[in-house]
Amino acid sequence: MTEWHVDDELATRYSGGALGGTAAASVEAHLLACERCRGSVATAVPEERLRKMWGEIAEAVDAPVPGPFERLLRLVGINEPTARLLAAAYSLRLPWLAANAVALLFAVLAAGIDDRWGLLWFLAVAPVLPVAGVALAFGRGADPAYEIGLAAPYSAFRLMLARAAAVLVTSAGPAFAAGFALLGRDWAVVAWLLPALALTALTLVLSSRFEPAPSGAVLSLLWLAGVAAFAVRDEPLAMFGTAGQVTALTVVLVSAALLFLRRDRYQSEDSR
């Protein structure tokens, strides 16, 4: 065994982080074999530095590993706390996003097979997907920690809007892309957008009084029934014409105003 040992001055410089790479590596190699020097270095480490190092180790071990969607949100510039809150929603996780994509794919394929009825199928289904996603993004039935969250200072209204926006982007984005890529650049492929916004906004408005999931389900059924009713009268695209778009836009604007006026109702359960 070597006769060389880490003296007090070296121990202080090493434990204070003042030694260069090679010298520090030599000290470390020696410490592995020498109990006496381990003892002298241990007592020389400043408490603050020790606490910081333990903190870094604990952080590396404990810190949650973000999932793929959370990483994507961070990539597009969403801050870490908001990304975590968004990614916890069921309809912003991979299984839901995959199911959403599959439903959309079938709708687009149907539209490609038959121009008129296929397009109707696509336009009818596309608005339902964001509504379903939004309905499953918040509320007592969809968020297991809803009650805890309601009593926390973070605004429940803000969380609802943030998740609704994220769902709209993740649903509408692929629908836009699929529509343009597979169905051409006809205006008709985006005719679902205003109805989607209207149904989503209505779901949010109703959520101040009812659970979002049943509200979304009822609105979706009403929407599909309306589309089917016009289809039976041999006017399959009537809901997507000018009158339909103006109606949808009106619903969006009125709903936005109602959301703003009733924003405080989402912070507790008093209105339910």
């Binding site: 952080e59 975590r84 809150l85 968020d143 920690a145 009650e147 009593a151 926390a152 359960e269």
Partner: protein, 281 residues
Amino acid sequence: MNTVVVTNVVKSYGRHRALDGLSFTAGPGVTGLLGPNGAGKTTLIRMLATVLAADSGTLRLLGRDPSAERLQIRRRLGYLPQEPGFHRAFTVFEFVDYVAILKEIVDRRARHDEVRRVIAEVGLAEVSGKRIRALSGGMRRRVGIAQALLGEPELVLLDEPTAGLDPEQRLRFRELISRIGENRTVVLSTHQTEDVAALCGRVVVFDGGRCMFEGTPEELRRVAEGQVWLSAERSGVLSWRTGEGLFRNIGQAPDAARLAEPTIEDGYLLLLGDAAVGVRS
């Protein structure tokens, strides 16, 4: 100063009055809300957590009015609901971290330090990386308490924290809650008189949404002084056979009975009267 002041509070659901002119106060230490199922305990705790508002009456929480200063109260509040939901795919750390964000602890490093602190405080440091779905019921309840302690709240509300726990877990919980109550106000609801005896400096007994008693556990015990009897025969409705083969009767003295030392449970049952028959059975 009292952290919680409830005055003449009424809360109705349709025709059912869950709270019917309830008044009580709670200060530092552990205060127990004791009552049978349906007494209105959860409604009251949710009201104290600012999740519900009163139809009438006044509440002062941490010196503030919850109808006007809800956010300020929520920043100083910890709350464990009766049935806390968990994102079961989350690990313990991830879940508590998620709630820490909802509690506006934004800085990542400070938040993680706080998460580690509360997880260690409830004794879950060794399972902080485990998924919540893999934990026992008692451990999940401790995760619930950990999130309630985030940010060192001055008022901690625990709704039936010991319900469904086995005796050993209950003992550990009592130790934990009494420690939490050393430097803050804890209000817990329970229908277990043992919890009150073991934990609470003050107890509020209520039934049918009304306060029937407010005082110390010892004062609750003394409510039944001179009214608990041991006899060979059953007498009255509040009567049951003990392990010694004698009947313990509360209320009027039966024939050939001897007076017995009352317990907190006796005082509680005497206060509840007819409602106690359901509690006892």
